[in-house]
């Protein structure tokens, strides 16, 4: 076994401890559960909630088509949504408007519809009839809060149409009336993608369909970078604290072998952990994207918005190089870590460098950013794999290639600096005893005897 393999094997063994594997697995499970939880919450909120209705008894409206009863109408909506007629009383409750809150609280109703006292009279005399929506606010997350109020408005909308139909008369007359009210059909859409026209698809639907990729990839890259960074810097801090690094440096091994061994081991472990996170995160993101997609499916391949084999190869190369850049930075930062504790704080600059492009790419992307933000994105090497998918989908291969060239240069410089640091005293003495730092701080002017 050569020296490099020995170093890699030892590093991997040190990094893949039962504790580190368990913490990653817990995070993966947490993400997956969180995804399931959010998914469940979304589906729960798209279902019709249990509801109450009050002040409807004497409000049956006489129309040209017959009597329109708000309670019966509400029951029909629920039955048409798939709720068995035998169980309807468990979904639609008759309430007393004088004691609304108590009844809603007792029955656990988040929503109740209350007709105004003059509802029947108003509608029959050509005035707007009022139905009030009463909600019981309960502290809840973003999703559960918004969806239930949407359901309330939707129910009123359906009731509105129904009463309207009753008031207009026959189906033919209603169709004619609907046409008079809205004679323009704006449902037909055409979107140009890369100069080609595509029918019945909107930019927002495309964005929703792409959001899985545009959110998932930057998050995964950020996690891998932070994880790899933490692994390498902590390993360096630990080696210094235990003085195992001093021993290692006096063994008959080349410094480049030590540096390469540490980099390879961290990359392997980082990728394994990153992959695990990706699986957990895909569950999580999958549930989040469900919020924005309006139910219609968009075939990205049909729109020419999918990646080919060469594109995937470029994205993979870009990811690999960004990890190499991260490892280069980490080895440099790790060289200055005094011990395991100080190593933890050293990861901060790397985390910031990983988080900034992630947010920019997720929220505005390369193409939506101004020139200053673009410069910032280009300079930070971790941005490139985050932007690569969007760029390739837009046919902008030049940006991806330019990023790859930049990252090769960046990683080369970082690794050369690392090897130089390993050959210098800084690794043992730290920065405080460096002449440039002393000059900068104005220390050490005296010369001991």
């Amino acid at each position: 076994m050569n020296h490099l393999t020995t170093i890699v094997k030892k590093e991997v063994k040190e990094l893949l401890t039962p504790g580190s594997v368990a913490s990653v697995m817990i995070m993966v499970i947490l993400f997956a559960c969180l995804g399931g939880l959010i998914g469940g919450e979304i589906s729960k909120n798209t279902e019709l909630p249990v509801i109450g209705i009050a002040n409807y008894e004497d409000q049956v409206v006489d129309t040209v088509s017959g009597e329109w009863n708000a309670y019966e109408m509400l029951k029909n909506i629920y039955i048409n949504s798939g709720i068995p007629a035998s169980k309807i009383d468990s979904y639609v409750f008759k309430l007393d408007s004088d004691d609304l809150l108590t009844e809603m609280t007792e029955k656990g109703l988040p929503l109740a519809l209350v007709l105004s006292d003059s509802f029947k009279q108003d509608v029959e005399s050509g005035k707007y009839g009022k139905i009030y929506q009463y909600y019981v606010y309960e502290p809840s997350g973003m999703i559960s809060g918004t969806v239930s109020s949407t359901v309330g408005s939707t129910l009123i909308g359906i009731m509105n149409k129904s009463l309207s139909q009753y008031m207009v008369g026959s189906q033919e007359e209603y169709a004619h009336y609907s046409f008079i009210v809205s004679p323009i059909d704006g449902s037909g859409t055409v979107t140009y993608i890369k100069g080609v026209a595509h029918d019945d698809v909107t930019p927002s639907a495309i964005s929703s369909a792409l959001s899985g990729q545009t959110m998932l990839i930057p998050m995964i890259i950020m996690i891998i970078i932070m994880m790899v960074g933490s692994i390498v810097i902590s390993s360096m801090g630990s080696e210094k604290e235990n003085k195992t690094l001093e021993t290692l440096l006096t063994l008959p091994i080349k410094r480049t072998t030590i540096v390469t061994g540490k980099i390879i081991a961290a990359a392997v472990v980082g990728l394994v952990f990153g992959l695990a996170y990706m699986i957990g995160m895909s569950f999580y993101i999958g549930s989040l994207t469900g919020i924005t997609v309006d139910g219609s499916t968009v075939d990205l391949a049909e729109l020419g918005l999918s990646l080919g084999v060469a594109d995937y190869a470029l994205v993979a190369l870009s990811m690999f190089l960004s990890i190499a850049c991260a490892l280069g930075i980490c080895m440099i930062l790790g060289a200055f870590a005094k011990n395991y504790k100080s190593a933890q704080t050293m990861t901060m600059p790397l985390s910031i460098l990983a988080i900034i492009p992630m947010f920019i790419v997720m929220f505005s992307g390369w193409y939506g950013s101004n020139i200053l933000i673009k410069c910032l994105l280009f300079i930070i090497p971790f941005s490139h794999p985050m932007m690569a998918t969007e760029a390739l989908l837009n046919g902008d291969v030049t940006l991806v290639i330019a990023g790859i060239v930049y990252m090769i240069a960046f990683a080369t410089v970082a690794i050369l600096v690392t090897v130089r640091l390993y050959r210098s005293d800084i690794l043992i003495t730290g920065l405080n005893q460096n002449k440039y730092v002393e000059k900068l701080l104005g220390n050490g002017k005296h010369k001991s005897r």
Binding site: H3, T6, E14, N242, E246, L249, T250, N434, V437, R449
Partner: protein, 241 residues
């Protein structure tokens, strides 16, 4: 007598501060040479320069005729360095640690033999298969000395080798050092413990503020300064009393 280690006007500067001022000394093969001095005197810096992990600002160091600056890779094949308060990789067992270290010197059957030698030197019994993070300080020191010696170095460099150990452990470690010196290994060690150096070392170098102020056998130094103990010798040499 072969010269195992030769330092010629060795200087070390940290930033703008000179920590070692022109140290020159020679250590002969099979000798136990002790460096004594108070904290921050420059002992560890001298040992680290000999071990090739710190660069020499000026002067030369030769280990068995090999220049530490120009032939550092060759020098590392001849030496074994044990830093003060050193540890081992926590997730490895004692045996795995010795095996890991042996991998950088030999392979196959030779490696097995080297690890076996290390296990015998460490003398940790069945604890050799326990993780090193369960070891006491004394056990850890035994393991690290075994690691330093099993590779049959020509020069063993040990920094504060018994520091923090109880009486029994310190005694046993000193016995191990005597044993390895008898087998022909040259030992250069540093210590605060004058009693230990007096008992163990063939010759002693006194270091103060980066200067090597005197060198000799313990007996020679006591005679020269007219003192009973090495401790009194050191205080007299440093304070001039």
């Amino acid at each position: 007598m072969t010269d195992a280690l030769v330092l010629r006007d060795v200087r070390k500067t940290y930033g703008q501060r000179e920590a070692v001022h022109g140290v020159s000394l020679t250590v002969h093969e099979g000798e136990i040479f002790g460096l004594i001095g108070h904290n921050g005197a420059g002992k560890t810096t001298i040992l680290r320069m000999i071990s090739t992990i710190l660069k020499i600002t000026s002067g030369t160091i030769e280990v068995y005729g090999k220049d530490t600056a120009k032939e550092s890779d060759e020098v590392r094949k001849l030496i074994s360095y044990l830093p003060e308060d050193a540890g081992a990789y926590k997730d490895l067992t004692g045996r795995a640690y010795l095996s890991f270290m042996a991998s950088f010197f030999v392979s196959g059957e030779e490696k097995k033999a080297m690890v076996e030698k290390g296990i015998q030197l460490a003398d940790l019994g069945d604890k050799i298969d326990y993780r090193v993070d369960t070891y006491s300080k004394g056990m850890m020191r035994r393991l690290l000395i075994a690691r330093a010696i099993m590779t049959s170095p020509k020069l063993a460099i040990m920094d504060e080798v018994t520091s923090g150990l109880d009486v029994i452990n310190a005694y046993e470690i000193r016995e191990v050092i005597r044993e390895i010196a008898r087998s022909g290994v040259t030992v250069v060690m540093s210590s605060h413990n004058m009693f230990e150096v007096d008992m163990l070392c063939d010759r002693v170098g006194m270091v103060d503020q980066g200067n090597l102020i005197d060198v000799g056998t313990p007996a020679e130094l006591k005679e020269k300064y007219g003192k009973e103990t090495l401790e009194e010798v050191f205080v007299t040499a440093v304070k001039g009393a």
